[in-house]
């Protein structure tokens, strides 16, 4: 039976996954060389999640993540050199070097940031989804978080509201089995995170996060469900990080054998093998992609290294929005490219809010039945 996937789709996914892998390896190397400091959390091993999601949603859908956040913007089309420059703390970075590894923001590509407080983005995602509903837009919000974030209060508080108000948000728990050095099973009464959706009457499912095609299928379906106005979905992508929690983590809390076993599931060769077996692409084509990506990442490192540190004047900018100040468009600022895809919102005079969270007739009927007067 012929594959239902186009060659184009598979090669795009492969390119993205290989870019994430290569980029993160280089980031690790540069950390070792002292070019990157602070916390630096690598995505190596989890590439299938971000690549599968990206191909299954619209480019104008909102996305945000935790602090393991270099890879998702790359999948969205962010400039690798500018992400690397941010890691280097240089002015050519997406946030002028002010955010660093844990805070990548690329609003042009609708990537609304990496957040350093575990689970904090879960609340923000609900607000972004709320805004889409408020404006009658059909865009959805995709929010990544880790297994450990599911134990935060905000996870529960937000799921409750998201379901109650039918917010168009897809929550993807990237369960890589460890919250820093603590196996999720050691601290979770129910380690299958997606089952927590049950308590809120929320659609929930688990997906093999080491298989990009499974991710793609699951997200395509979930996105359609959400876009149709059915409310949020909780998806658990079971994945694995081949590296420590961050660069300073020797990962002594798991056995070498475990890592070896998981590497057999490496999503990148898996996709290559599938495509070759399905006769959708030849090995040479993959070699060529790999070569191109290697050069792209080398160029990104070079760009980052040559970008100057931010000027001290920057200290006094970007804390408070001054009267009449425009928002910064990074690619325009750094590369001089005209950015046309910057988000635009209807003004307060144009906007008509036409929906209700709790329609009045419904409330009045309920009151009447209960014998209440308003």
């Amino acid at each position: 039976m012929a594959s239902k996937y186009s060659k184009d789709l598979l090669l795009t996914m492969y390119r993205k996954m290989y870019l994430m892998r290569r980029f993160e390896e280089r980031a690790g190397q540069q950390y070792g060389l002292g070019k990157i400091a602070g916390f630096c959390h690598l995505y190596i091993g989890q590439e299938a999640v971000a690549a599968g999601v990206e191909e299954a949603i619209r480019p104008d859908d909102y996305m945000l993540s935790g602090y393991r956040d270099h890879a998702q913007p790359l999948a969205r089309g962010s400039d690798a050199g500018m992400v690397m420059a941010e890691l280097f703390g240089r002015t050519g970075g997406y946030s002028k070097g002010k955010g660093g590894s844990m805070h990548i923001f690329d609003i042009e590509h609708h990537f609304y940031g990496g957040y350093g407080i575990v689970g904090a983005q879960i609340g923000l995602a609900a607000g972004m989804a709320f805004a889409s509903r408020y404006r009658n837009e059909d865009r959805i919000t995709v929010c990544y978080f880790g297994d450990a974030a599911a134990n935060q209060g905000i996870f529960h508080e937000t799921l409750n509201m998201a379901v109650k108000w039918k917010l168009p948000v897809l929550y993807i728990c990237e369960n890589n089995r460890y919250g820093m050095g603590t196996a999720i099973a050691r601290v979770a009464a129910v380690p299958e995170i997606h089952k927590r959706g049950e308590a809120y009457g929320m659609r929930h499912e688990a997906v093999d996060g080491m298989d990009v095609l499974k991710m793609y299928e699951a997200v395509k379906d979930a996105a359609a469900y959400i876009r149709a106005g059915n409310g949020p979905v909780l998806m658990e992508a079971n994945t694995y990080r081949f590296r420590g929690h961050s660069m300073a983590d020797p990962a002594t809390y798991r056995t070498k054998q475990e890592v070896e076993d998981e590497r057999k599931n490496d999503p990148i060769p898996r996709l290559k093998d599938y495509a070759i077996a399905q006769k959708l692409a030849k090995a040479e084509e993959f070699d060529a992609i790999e070569e191109e990506v290697k050069q792209q990442v080398d160029a990104a490192v070079k760009f980052a290294d040559e970008s100057p540190e931010p000027s001290l004047d920057e200290l006094w900018k970007d804390t408070i929005v001054e009267e009449g100040e425009e928002d910064v468009r990074p690619r325009e600022r750094v590369l001089g490219v005209k950015v046309t895809n910057w988000p635009k919102y209807p003004s307060g005079q144009e906007l008509k809010v036409t929906w209700d969270l709790e329609p009045r007739e419904q409330a009045e009927k309920a009151d009447k039945a209960a014998g209440l007067k308003r």
Partner: protein
């Protein structure tokens, strides 16, 4: 293309690492992301990964050896590629980022407890080796290069404690005390009373608490001392009392910041004001009250005792330090600084009236005080004179500080009246008297006679009509003031008698020109002839 694999920094504090084990051997194929070696850091054992695909051509650092972060530990390349001997060396550690922004260190995992306690640090050897702790001739004034030891306040064997005065030294300006900065015993005096010592040279040695024996003197520029006496054991007897220090002024003067500012602006002497606030704090209302009353007269001064006249015989006296400095500097200035001179005659009748008015208020204001005030106000208006040349730059002073030349035994000194343009006459008068008196007693602190905008040198009291003064560096001008005397002058075609005085300005032509000096003198003349203007 053979590329080096470098020892990575695997923790924020790691500077070098030990290769524990090679997981690949030479000739093995490695792919990016694969672990190739195990490394022991200061924190833990970690794996080193390859960041490229290729073959391990050469292992540079064998198992069990250390490598600095950034140095090559192996060479990676294509299959069968020859290793260039230089490639290993070429791998320089990464350059530091361009600016010196502090690196935020990632919190490292807690270090494992050390297996053994670190050895206690060796007690530090006492400074000065076997000589004990040297006490050196301090620089007690900005211009001092050497000092004369006038008197030892402690003798060998005495106990001294940090902060205690141990000797008196005569500098080019005044007599000052040398303090010990350590506790111990005065083991050996190197410079005897009456001898000179260069700044920085040891004048004595202290033995630490242990009473270390002082060894032979360090071959310094110090003069020959008598053979050192063995250090006596520290006696239980109390050390002789050091000379009593000059009494410090009584209790601190308390005034609110606002009161201090007002006094400064109106030239009021706060010591003459009674405070009504808590603990006698002077506040705004006290200043306002004081300004409407005459200041209390300053305590009467004792006239200096006149030395009895003796038939003079030529006597050879060694040049004092002060004299030496004066002669040195004058010799530098006179050929070194191109002087120009401007003179003007000033009618002093009105100014003398001011002095009479002050007398009526029991306030002593001298002609010189009025000249100081006027010269300061003129400086404020003509700041081009208020400068000083320092090499390639000209300092333009923001404050107006006027020096007054005071003749003292064996020389002269110029104490400074700070902010003279802002002070009132009675404040200037009180300050000038106090400074002159302490100058004669050699009791001035260095900051009281250094700096300044210009100096007023007045020889009027000696009946000198007019004279020319040598500039007092680093100032750029000096005002030579002659006596006030009745002269016949012509006013409106009539011959009249007026009190006249001649003022001569010497200017440093490198920074001031004649026209600027002339404008300044014109202003000064105006102020003195219309002294009401001194109030504005």
């Amino acid at each position: 293309m053979a590329t080096p694999i470098q020892m990575p920094a695997l923790s924020p504090t790691m500077t070098e690492g030990k290769i524990v084990k090679w997981l690949k051997k030479e000739g093995d194929k490695v792919s990016s992301g694969e672990a190739i070696a195990e490394c022991e850091t200061d924190k833990s054992n970690l794996e080193i990964e390859a960041y490229d695909d290729g073959y391990l051509l050469k292992i540079v650092v064998p198992e069990g050896e250390m490598a600095k972060v950034g140095s090559p530990i192996a060479i990676l390349g294509a299959k069968g590629e020859k290793v260039d001997a230089g490639a290993a060396k070429a791998a320089a550690p990464a350059a530091a980022p361009k600016a010196e922004a502090p690196k935020a260190a990632a919190p490292a995992p807690a270090p494992a407890p050390a297996s053994a306690p670190a050895p206690a640090a060796q007690p530090a050897a006492p400074a000065g080796g076997g000589d004990g702790i040297p006490v050196v001739m301090p620089a007690l004034s900005p211009t001092m290069t050497e000092g004369k030891l006038v008197k030892w306040l402690k003798k060998e064997g005495d106990k001294v404690s940090s902060g205690q005065a141990i000797a008196e030294v005569e500098t080019d300006k005044s007599n000052l005390e040398v303090e010990a900065y350590d506790d111990g015993v005065l083991a050996r005096i190197v410079v005897q009373e009456g001898q000179m010592a260069k700044v920085g040279a040891p004048i004595a040695f202290l033995a630490g608490k242990g009473g270390a024996k002082a060894a032979a003197p360090a071959p310094a520029a110090a003069p020959q001392a008598a053979a050192p006496a063995p250090a006596p054991a520290p006696s239980a007897a109390p050390a002789p009392k050091a000379a009593a220090p000059a009494p410090t002024p009584g209790g601190r003067l308390r005034a609110s910041p606002l009161a201090k500012r007002m006094a400064r602006e109106r030239g009021l002497d706060l010591s003459q004001v009674r405070g009504s606030g808590p603990h006698g704090r002077i506040v705004k209302s006290d200043i306002e009250k004081a300004l409407t009353q005459a200041p209390a007269p300053a305590a009467a001064r004792k006239a200096p005792a006149v030395a009895p006249g003796v038939r003079p015989e030529p006597k050879s006296v060694p040049v004092t330090t002060m004299r030496k400095v004066i002669s040195q500097r004058m010799a530098e200035v006179k050929p070194g600084v191109p002087h120009f001179y401007l003179s003007v005659d000033v009618e002093m009748d009105a100014a003398l009236k001011i002095r009479e008015e002050a007398k009526a208020l029991e306030s002593k204001v001298s002609v010189n005080d009025i000249i100081v005030k006027a010269s300061a106000m003129a400086l404020r208006r003509y700041p081009k004179i208020n400068v000083s040349l320092h090499g390639d730059t000209i300092l333009h002073f923001e404050t107006v500080d006027v020096g007054i030349a005071v003749a003292i035994e064996d020389g002269l000194i110029t104490p400074i009246i700070r902010d003279a343009d802002k002070k009132g006459l009675s404040a200037i008068s009180a300050e000038a008297r106090d400074l002159a008196e302490r100058a004669r007693k050699r009791g001035l602190k260095p900051d009281e006679y250094t700096g300044g905008s210009l100096t007023v040198s007045n020889l009027g009291m000696y009946g000198i009509d007019s004279f020319i003064a040598v500039i007092n560096p680093p100032q750029a001008a000096i005002l030579a003031v002659g006596s006030v005397s009745d002269k016949v002058v012509v006013r409106d075609g009539q011959m009249v008698v007026r009190k006249m005085m001649t003022v001569t300005l010497s200017g440093d032509h490198r920074v001031i020109d004649g026209a600027i000096g002339a404008e300044y003198l014109r202003e000064l003349k105006n102020l003195l002839e219309h002294p009401m203007r001194l109030l504005f």
